[in-house]
Subunit: 463 residues, 4 copies
Amino acid sequence: MTKPLLIQGATVVNADREFKADVLCVDGQIAAVGPDLEAPAGADKLDGSGRYLMPGGIDPHTHMQLPFMGTVTRDDFFSGTAAALAGGTTSIIDFVIPDPQEPLMDAYRKWRGWAEKAASDYAFHVAITWWGDSVHRDMGTLVNEEGVNSFKHFMAYKNAIMCDDETLVNSFRRSLELGAMPTVHAENGELVFLLQAEMKAKGILGPEGHPLSRPPAVEAEAAQRAIAIADVLNVPIYIVHVSSAESAEAIARARARGQRVYGEVLAGHLVIDDSVYRDPDFVKAAAHVMSPPFRAKGHGQMLWRGLQSGSLHTTATDHCTFCAEQKAAGKDDFSKIPNGCGGVEERMAVLWHEGVNGGKLTPSEFVAVTSANAARLFNLYPKKGLIAAGADADLVLWDPAATQTLSVKTQHSLGDYNIFEGMTVQGKATHTLTRGHLAWADGDLRAVRGAGQYLKRAPFAPQ
Amino acid sequence: MTKPLLIQGATVVNADREFKADVLCVDGQIAAVGPDLEAPAGADKLDGSGRYLMPGGIDPHTHMQLPFMGTVTRDDFFSGTAAALAGGTTSIIDFVIPDPQEPLMDAYRKWRGWAEKAASDYAFHVAITWWGDSVHRDMGTLVNEEGVNSFKHFMAYKNAIMCDDETLVNSFRRSLELGAMPTVHAENGELVFLLQAEMKAKGILGPEGHPLSRPPAVEAEAAQRAIAIADVLNVPIYIVHVSSAESAEAIARARARGQRVYGEVLAGHLVIDDSVYRDPDFVKAAAHVMSPPFRAKGHGQMLWRGLQSGSLHTTATDHCTFCAEQKAAGKDDFSKIPNGCGGVEERMAVLWHEGVNGGKLTPSEFVAVTSANAARLFNLYPKKGLIAAGADADLVLWDPAATQTLSVKTQHSLGDYNIFEGMTVQGKATHTLTRGHLAWADGDLRAVRGAGQYLKRAPFAPQ
Amino acid sequence: MTKPLLIQGATVVNADREFKADVLCVDGQIAAVGPDLEAPAGADKLDGSGRYLMPGGIDPHTHMQLPFMGTVTRDDFFSGTAAALAGGTTSIIDFVIPDPQEPLMDAYRKWRGWAEKAASDYAFHVAITWWGDSVHRDMGTLVNEEGVNSFKHFMAYKNAIMCDDETLVNSFRRSLELGAMPTVHAENGELVFLLQAEMKAKGILGPEGHPLSRPPAVEAEAAQRAIAIADVLNVPIYIVHVSSAESAEAIARARARGQRVYGEVLAGHLVIDDSVYRDPDFVKAAAHVMSPPFRAKGHGQMLWRGLQSGSLHTTATDHCTFCAEQKAAGKDDFSKIPNGCGGVEERMAVLWHEGVNGGKLTPSEFVAVTSANAARLFNLYPKKGLIAAGADADLVLWDPAATQTLSVKTQHSLGDYNIFEGMTVQGKATHTLTRGHLAWADGDLRAVRGAGQYLKRAPFAPQ
Amino acid sequence: MTKPLLIQGATVVNADREFKADVLCVDGQIAAVGPDLEAPAGADKLDGSGRYLMPGGIDPHTHMQLPFMGTVTRDDFFSGTAAALAGGTTSIIDFVIPDPQEPLMDAYRKWRGWAEKAASDYAFHVAITWWGDSVHRDMGTLVNEEGVNSFKHFMAYKNAIMCDDETLVNSFRRSLELGAMPTVHAENGELVFLLQAEMKAKGILGPEGHPLSRPPAVEAEAAQRAIAIADVLNVPIYIVHVSSAESAEAIARARARGQRVYGEVLAGHLVIDDSVYRDPDFVKAAAHVMSPPFRAKGHGQMLWRGLQSGSLHTTATDHCTFCAEQKAAGKDDFSKIPNGCGGVEERMAVLWHEGVNGGKLTPSEFVAVTSANAARLFNLYPKKGLIAAGADADLVLWDPAATQTLSVKTQHSLGDYNIFEGMTVQGKATHTLTRGHLAWADGDLRAVRGAGQYLKRAPFAPQ
Ligand SMILES: [Zn+2]
Ligand SMILES: [Zn+2]
Ligand SMILES: [Zn+2]
Ligand SMILES: [Zn+2]
Ligand SMILES: [Zn+2]
Ligand SMILES: [Zn+2]
Ligand SMILES: [Zn+2]
Ligand SMILES: [Zn+2]
C-alpha cells in the first residue's frame, strides 16, 4: 500500500474543463478533488503550483514483446510500460495476434503471460486473423469472461495475418452481437502485394519503395470498405492509425451521416513526413518503416484538423521497436524490413507541444485525445481518463514551461532509434502516478516490474 | 433559503457518462454526489429510483416579452420561464434587440428590467443592429461590466434590424477583441426581400408564400458568408437555428477545416416539416410562421445527423409566442405575419423522445445537446450543465417510462398554439429544481415570480 | 445497297449543338450535312420539319439471349435489337460472360455466334470472372485481334461469377497495358451473401427482401473500392448501372480529384423507386428484381444531377428479359428470382420526357448521354454518336410533339412485362435508320434479321 | 478579300475529337474540311504535316486600353490583339466598365470606339457597377440591339466599382429575363477593405501585403454568395478568374447539385504561386499584383483538376498591362499598386505545355478549355471554337515539337514585364489565321490595325 499523496495547487484538467483544485490519492484511487484539501496523517505532499494535473495518458495501440521472425521487439512489457510512465502514459492497450488457425484462447493466454511483468496497467485487443466456429465461440469467451471488448482486423499483410471480406463481415457481425468494438488496420493487402512486386520489378529495393507500395489511396480504400461494412451491419467501428487526408475524410463523411466511426492517429503521423524514406542512410530510412508509412507534407495538417473537429478521437503510437540489426533483414528488399517504430514515451510531449502550444488544442482537448476518449471508447472510463473521486490515481503532473529535447540518448525505451530525435518541445511530465504510486518523479524512474494490472473491460450493450 | 434536498437512487447523467448516485442539494447548490449519501438533518428526500437525474435544460434562444408592432409576445419573462421549468429547462438565454441607432446600453437596461420577474435563471445575447463608435464602446461595457459574452447579428429583416457586411465585419472583429462569441441569424435579407415581392406579385399572399420566400439556399448563403468572415477574422462563430441540410453541411465543412464553428438547432426544425404552411386553415398555417421556416422532409434527418456527429451542438426553441390575433396582422400578406412559435416547455421531451427513444442519442448526448454544450459555449459551465459538487442545483428528474401528449390545452405557456399539438412522447420531467427549489413536482408548478437570477457570463480570453 | 435518302428540314442535334440542316445518306453512311442539299437521282426523301434528327441511341449495357439456369432470356439478339430500333437505339454493347475457368475465347466465340442474327450493330464487353495465364493472354487476343476494348468485372454474385480483389487488380493492370477500359458491376458480394441469409433467417422470403439485401452502402462500397484500385493503378474506370446517390457521389469525388472515372445510369433507376418491391402481386414485384435494385425516392434525383453535372456519362438499360415463368423460380426465395428487366426500347423516350421536357437536359445533352458519350468512351466515335459526313447513317428522327403511352401491349420486346407500364411520355422516335436502312418508320418495324454488324473497337493507347 | 488558303495534312483538333484532314479557307470562312481536298485556282497552300490545326484561341477576359487614374494600360486594342494573334488567340472578350452613375450606353459607346483599331475579333462583357431604372433599361438595349449577352459584377473594390447585394440581385434577375449570362469577380470587398487597413496598421506596406489582404476565403465567400444568389434566382452564372481551391470546390459542389455554374481560370493562376510577392525587388513583386492574387502552391493543382473534371470550363488571362512606372504608384502602399498582369500572348503555349505535355489534358480538352467552351458559353459557337465548314477561318497551326522560351524580350505585347519570364515550353503557334488572313506566320506578325470585327452575340432564350 502506498502512502496517501496530496497534490496541491495544480490546475486540474479534465476533458470537459480545467479548474484549480487539490487532489488526494489514497490506496491507489483518487479519494478527493477540491479546493484546499487537508492532508491525512502520514500523507506525502506534492506541489503542483504552476502545473497542470491531468489523467495519465492511455496509449490504445502498442506492440510490446511482439514475436516476429524468431525474434521479438526490443521493448518487452516491462521496459515498454516503464518508458510509457516516464512520458506520462499510465495505460496501454496492446494486441493479441493469433497466427491463422491458432486458437484465440491459446494466443490470448500466451500474451497474458508475457504481460505480467508490466509496470503500468494494460489491456488487450484481440486480432481476428481467420474465421471458424472456434473463433466465433472464443470471441464470446473473451468478451464474457476475459474482459476483452475490442477485436482487431488486419486488412493488409497478404499471405500472413490479412483477413478477407468474409472474415471481416462475420467478425463484425459477431462483435455487434457481443457488444465489442471492431477495429481495423486499413490498407488493401492485394494492392500492397501488387505494388511491392512492381517496385521490386523496377529495381526499387530500398526503403523508398515502402511508401510507394502503400500510397494513401491504398489506405483510404480499406478504410472506406471497413466503414461501409460496419454501416451495413450497423456496428460501430474504430480505425487504427489513420495516416492520410483521404482516410480522415472517409471517416468524417461517415460521421456526417450519423455513423458511429472513430479514428486513431499516431503521434508520428502528426509531425513526421515521408522525406525520411529518402534518407541515404539505410539505418535511418529503415528505422521509419512502419505501416501505414509516413505521408507527404499536408496529410499531417488534415489529421490535426480531424482531432480538432472531432472526427478523429484518440492518439496512439503503434509502439513496436525493432532495432537496426532486426531492420537489416530488409537490407536488399524493403518489403522484408520489420515494420515498426517507437514513441510510447514521447507521445504526450509531442501532442502537447504541437497541439497545445501550437494553438490547435486546448488543454481539455489534449486530455480528450490522449486519455479520456480512449477510456470512453474502450470502456475504461471513468476509472481511467478522468480526475474525479473514485477514479484510479493514474495521473500526470505537467510542467508547461519545461522544455526537453527528445532523443534516443535520453529515452527509457530499449529501442535504438527515436523517430522524434532532436525535436525540442516545451511541456513535460514531471511526475507520473500509476494507481497512486509515484513511478516517475523529476527524472527518476521508479517503475515496478509486475505492478501493472490487467484491465478487464466490460462489453457495451450487446445486440 | 430552501431546505436541503437529497435525491436518492437516480441514474445521474452528465455529458460524459451516466452513473448511479445520490445527489444532495444545499443552499441552492449541489453539495455532494455519491453513493448512499446521508441526508442532513431536516433535509427533504426525493426518490429517484428508475429515473434519470440530469442537469436542467438550457434554452439558449428565447424571446420572452418581445415588443413588436406596438404589442408584445404573449409570454413574458415570468410565464415563459415558468413554462420552461415545467418542461425541465432551468435557464434561458434571451436577446436584447436595440433598434437601429438606439444606444445598446439603453436597450440592455430595458430588457434587464423586464426580466426581473423571471422564475428561472436567465442571460442575454445583445444584438448588434447598427454600427458606430458608441456601439464599439458599449460592446466593451457589456462584456467587461455586465457579463454579456455573446452578440447577435441578424442577416435578414431588411429595412429593420438587418446588419450589412460592414457592421458584421466590424462587430465580429470587436467580439474577438473582447473575448465574446458572435452569433448570427443566417438568412440573406436581400434575397428574402426580392422573393417576398415576387411571391406577392404572383398573387401568393397566404402563409404558403412564407417558405417560398426563404428557401434553404437563402439560409445557406448567409451561413456560409458568416462562417467565411469569421474564418478570415479568426473568430469563433455560433449559428442560431440551423434549419436546413445545406447550412448544416456548411458548418460541417468549416469544422472539418478545423474552424471553431458551432450550430444550434430548434426542436421544431427537428420534427416538423413544411407541409404545415399548406394547411387551408390560416390560423394553423400562420401559427407556424417563423424564420427560418420549417423545411421539406429530409432536412430534419440531416439536423439529427449534425447533432449525432458533433457538427451541431445545442438545441433551442426560439420561443416567441404571438397569438392568433397578432398573427392575423398578416392575413392578406404573409410577410406581415409576426414571426415566431413556442416550444420552451416541450423541447426536452421532444428531444428525448425522438433522440433517445429513437436511437439517435445516448442519454449523455441528450444532456450535451440540451444543456452542457450551451453552458460550455456561453461560459456558464460548470455552474450550469453539470451535476457535480459545487454546481448550481438546477436539475431535472426524468421518468423515461412516463408518456405525455403535448397540447395547448395542458401547456403552461400563455401562447394559444402548440406546434407539437397531439404528439405523444415517452419521457417526462417529473421534477425540476432551480437553485435547489422544487419548482415543478409531479404536475404541480411552483414557479416563483422574480426568483430567477441574471447570469453574468465571463468573456473568453480576449485577443 | 439501300437507296440514297435525303432527310430534309429537321433540326440536327449533336452533342455540341443543334442546327437546321438536311442530311443525305448514301450507302449506309452520311454523305452530306448542310442546308438545302440536293437529292441525288433516285433518292428517297424524308420530311423532318418540326422534328429533331439525332444520332441513333447506343445502349452500352444489354444482355440479349443470356443463358441462365438451363433457359435463356426471352429476347434474343434479333428481337432485342429490333425492339431497340423501334425505340431509336441503333447500337448495343452486350456482354460475353465466361463461366469461371471457361476459356475467354470459347465464350467469346459462342456469343459472337449467337449475335449473328442481330438487326442492329453490336459490340461486346467481355467479363473477367476468374484469373490465370490464359485469361491474361486471351485479353490480349481480344483487344488486338477481335476489337474488344472493354472488360467487365462482377463484384457481386458470390460462388458464381464474382471476381475477388486479386482478379480485379490483375485484370485492371492488364487492361491498362492493353489500352482497354475496365468496367465493374459494383456491389459487395460478401455483404449481399450475408444479408440474403439474414433476411431469409428472419423469414423475409419475398421480393421485398431483394432491396433489403442490397442497400445503397453495399453498392457504394464496391464502387469506391473499384475506383480506388483504378486510381492506384492509374487506369480509367467505368461503373455500370450506378443506382444510388452514394455511388454517384463516390464517382463525383474521384472526378474532382482529376481521376478518369465514368458512370452509367439505367433509365429505370432514373424514374422508378423501390416501392415496386412491396407490391402484393408477386409477379409485379418479381418483374422488378434486378441488381442493383430500384432505390428509395431521392436517389433518382441525384442520378439526374450526375448526368447534368457531367459526373455520370451514359444511359443504358441492362436489358435482360426474364418472363413471369422464369421469375417464378424465386417464388419462395427472393434470392432465386432471376435478375433482370427490359427497357432497350423505351430508354430514349423516357430520357427525353423526363430529361428534356423536364428541364433537366438540353437536346444536345440528351444526345450526349444517350449516344455520343458511349461512342466516345468505347471508341465508336465518330462513326457512331455523331451526325457528320462520313459517319454511319445510324439516325433517329424525333417528334417532340408526339405522345405515347409505354406498355407491354405495344412493345416489340418479347419480354412479358414493361417496367414503364402506363407511363405517358411526350417525344417519340418516328423513324430509325441503321446504316441508312429505314428500320422503323411511323410505327412500321422493318428490322432485318442478321443485318447488324459486329463493331470492332480499337483500343486506346496502351501503356 | 484574301486569297483562298488550303491547309494540308494537319491533324485537326476539335473539342470532340481529332482527325487528319485538309482545311480550305475561302473568304474568311472555312469552306471545307476533309481528306485530300483540292486547292481552288489561285489558292495558297500551307503544309500542316506533323502539326495540329485547332480553332483559334478565345480569351474571354482581357482589359485592353483600360483607363486608370488618368492613364491607361500599355496595350491598346491593336497591340493587345496583335500580341494575342502571335500566340494563337483570335478573339477576345473585353469589358466595358461604367463608372458608378455613368449611363451604360455612354460607356459602351466609348469602348466600342476604342476597340475599332483591334486586329482580331472582339466582344464585350458590360459591367453593372450601380443600379437604377436606366441601368435596367440599358441592359435591355445592350442585349437586344447591341449583341451583348453577358454582364459583369465586381464584388470587390469598395468605394469604387463594387456592387452590393441589392445590385447583384437585381442585375442577375434582369439578366435572366434577357437571356444574358451574369458573371462575377468574386472577392468580398468589405473584408478586403478591412484587411488592407489592418495590414497597413501593422506596417505591412509592400506587395507582400497584397495577398495577405485577399486570402482564399475572401474569394470563396464571394463565389459562394454569387452562386447561391444565382441558384435562388435560377439563373446560370460564370465566375471569372477562379484562383483558389476553395472557390473551385464551391463551383464543383454547386454543379453536383445540378446548378449551371461555370468557372474561368487564368493561365497565370495555373502555374505561378504567391512566392512572387516576397521578391525583394519591388518591381518584380509589384508586377505580379493582380486580384485575386497568385496563391500558395497546391491551389494550382486543384484548378487543373477543375479543368480535367469539367467543373472549370475556360481559360483566360485578365490581360491588363501596367508598366513599372504605373505600378510605382503603390511604392509605399500596396493597395495603390494598379492591379493587372499580361498573358494574352502566352496563354495557349502555357496551357499546352503544362496541360497536354503534362498529361493533364488531351488535345481535344485543350481546344475545349482554350476556345470551344468560351465560344459555347458566350454564344459565339459554332462560328468560333470549331473547325467545320461554315465556321470563321480563325485557326491556329500548332507545332507540338517546337520549343520556345517566354520572355518580355521576345513578346509582342507592349507591357514591360512577362509573368512567365524564362519558362521554356514545348508547343508553339507557328501560324495564326483570323478570318482567313494569315496574321502570324513563322515568327512574322502581320496583324492589321482595324481588321478585327465586333462580335454580336445573340442572347440565350430569355425567360
Ligand atoms: Zn497496423
Ligand atoms: Zn499496430
Ligand atoms: Zn432568428
Ligand atoms: Zn430568434
Ligand atoms: Zn450488373
Ligand atoms: Zn448487366
Ligand atoms: Zn477581376
Ligand atoms: Zn478583369
